[in-house]
């Protein structure tokens, strides 16, 4: 059964149709990739799923429950968390706090608890801390827990974003270009991490331009171009799809035109 369903989803910005009647299903437990040229509307799809934008037309549902119109913060409660293409960390806070905040929707303590400090709250705090450290360890950031987020290098910041999204144990994790800015070596490590995340039962839906990574880990790939879905299938199907090659992949064999 499909976890997330996009049904005829369209969004327009003024005259521009950024996402155009897209139908898409994300299956429970899979790694699905969304690829397409720059400006095809991939990030916009993520923004639609997380209610940062509201679709002009169409329906989106998680486990059959509609998502359109539900405020962004409730989306996380329902089990979808994400990372951002342009990293959005809580830059002045410590790495550990960043992840703890990621666990927000798993906590219950309210204002009264803050002031009374009852044992139930302490227990919850301890639990959150433990989970957070676990998530940091998972993404190999444990040694940086006291660092201020903005002082991390780009690649570390990307991993921290994933840790923050992961700590709430979502059903569906949306990754927007997780490998951007990483070198090939780091990408290999990242690939391994994404696989391990999936193995804990979390469905992964990612947008990425690095074909080695996309082809390497996804079970299925959907392709967008000018807001429309132009292809969907297994990596090998997509790789050989003519339209995809023309619109997106290119030759894949870059050769310097100049003899040096």
């Amino acid at each position: 059964m499909s976890l997330l369903t996009l049904d005829n989803v369209t969004i327009r910005f003024g005259g521009l149709t950024a996402v155009d009647s897209v139908n898409l299903e994300v299956q429970q437990g899979e790694i699905l990739a969304l690829i397409g040229p720059n400006g095809a509307g991939k990030s916009t799809v993520f923004n639609l799923i997380t209610s940062i934008y509201n679709p002009t037309e169409g329906r989106i549902s998680l486990d059959g429950k509609p998502l359109v119109g539900i405020p962004t913060h409730k989306i996380a409660d329902m089990g979808i968390t994400r990372t951002f293409q342009a990293i959005r960390l809580f830059t002045e806070l410590s790495v550990l706090d960043n992840v703890k905040i990621g666990a927000h929707c798993r906590g219950k303590a309210g204002l009264v608890h803050s002031f009374t400090r009852l044992p139930s709250m302490k227990r919850e705090e301890a639990e959150i801390e433990e989970k957070s450290l676990e998530a940091l360890g998972f993404l190999d950031l444990a040694s940086k827990q006291d660092e201020i987020a903005k002082n991390l290098s780009y690649g570390e910041q990307r991993r921290l974003e994933i840790a923050r999204a992961l700590v709430s144990k979502p059903k569906l994790l949306l990754l927007d270009e997780p490998a951007a800015g990483m070198n090939p070596q780091e990408k290999v490590v990242l690939m391994e991490m994404i696989r391990r995340i999936r193995d804990t039962g979390i469905t992964v839906f990612l947008v990425e331009h690095d074909m080695k990574l996309v082809m390497g880990i996804s079970e299925r790939i959907a392709v967008l171009d000018y807001g429309k879905k132009i292809a969907e299938g297994t990596p090998s199907e997509v790789r050989s799809n003519k339209a995809v090659i023309e619109a997106y992949l290119g030759s894949g064999k870059f050769k310097s035109r100049i003899r040096r």
Partner: protein
């Protein structure tokens, strides 16, 4: 021993002891120190309480508010009306002042929280002006003529006790789930909602608590001056409180405390300069900001600094994967 200390009942008892000692100690102090100094300390305390509230709104949650004096005035008038017209006991009056102000914090919170940055700032400023005009035109407040006959019940021990309580409450809040959510909102609203933080809720919480503190401060103020007028709560009052927060170090509780001490006593310390006093005061603000751009204690991790100063070992970190 350690286990005993983490029991909340023991903690609560300890806290009450501290409060009691503070109250008792300050009672003694108030007998020794000359009234002039004592009154300055009293105003430091009042300003500290109000500034801690604003620090929660602006420093922790990142919502620039230029209308804190409005909440202060609401607390001042509400408590004055309660104690004078309805003969409510003083401390209850203070509580009422805080609650009414907090309620207004929520009321102003709802519509204006859609606004961000400077748009929010001007909306809060506008709100404060509207409140002031309203007080000027109300019968029960006696308009511009002012509200007379308030008992001078505020004492140094009471102010210090409330200030200590406020500080503790703020420290607790900041280290809780709620506090972290507020910090997250300051850093990035979109990312906050993406991790499930109801930004509106926490902003309103911050406004409510911040306004409550301002209301309590206002109530204490009214019962110190014994006479209040709408002009006591103008824009410049809001600016004064904001200056305390920023100059001390945005988001820093120790900073706010230092800020309140420095900025409340500065006009008094500068008295010998006589006619040049305010000129120098203005310069002082500029100079402090230039030399400490993040405020007196901005960017200083007090806990770490203390640890370093006393060479205490770092807290053992659990789950360190090495």
């Amino acid at each position: 021993m350690k286990k005993l200390l983490s029991n909340w009942i023991v903690q609560a008892l300890l806290f009450l002891c501290v409060l009691g000692l503070t109250a008792y100690g300050s009672q003694i102090i108030s007998k020794i120190i000359p009234t002039y100094i004592l009154m300055i300390c009293l105003f430091i305390g009042i300003n500290m309480i109000m500034a801690l509230g604003l620090n929660l709104i602006t420093g922790v949650t990142g919502q620039l508010s230029l209308g804190h004096a409005a909440f202060m005035s609401i607390g001042a008038y509400a408590s004055a009306i309660a104690t004078v017209n309805y003969h409510v006991p003083f401390l209850l009056g203070v509580l009422i002042g805080g609650l009414v102000a907090g309620l207004f914090g929520i009321i102003i919170g709802f519509p204006t929280l859609r606004l961000t940055g400077d748009y929010l700032a001007i909306a809060t400023l506008g709100f404060a002006e509207i409140v002031r005009v309203q007080f000027t035109n109300m019968k029960i407040t006696n308009g511009a003529i002012g509200f007379l006959g308030i008992e001078g019940s505020t004492t140094f021990p009471i102010v210090i006790t409330i200030a200590v309580f406020t500080i503790c409450a703020m420290v607790w809040l900041e280290n809780s789930r709620n506090g972290r959510a507020m910090l997250a909102i300051r850093e990035d609203e979109i990312a906050s909602s993406a991790v499930g933080i109801n930004t509106t809720l926490y902003k309103i919480q911050a406004f409510a608590i911040g306004a409550f503190c301002a209301g309590v401060g206002g109530a204490l103020f009214a019962h110190t001056t014994t006479f209040i007028q709408p002009t006591d709560f103008g824009f410049l009052k809001s600016v004064d409180i904001l200056s305390i927060v920023v100059l001390g170090g945005l988001g820093s509780i120790p900073g706010t405390i230092i800020g309140a001490i420095v900025l409340t006593s500065a006009p008094e310390i500068l008295r010998p300069l006589s006619n040049y006093r305010m000129i120098v005061y203005g310069l002082l603000l500029v100079v402090i900001m230039i030399f400490r751009p993040y405020g007196l204690l901005g960017g200083v991790n007090l806990r770490r600094a203390v640890r370093r100063a006393f060479m205490l070992p770092k807290k053992k970190q659990a789950g360190r994967g090495e």
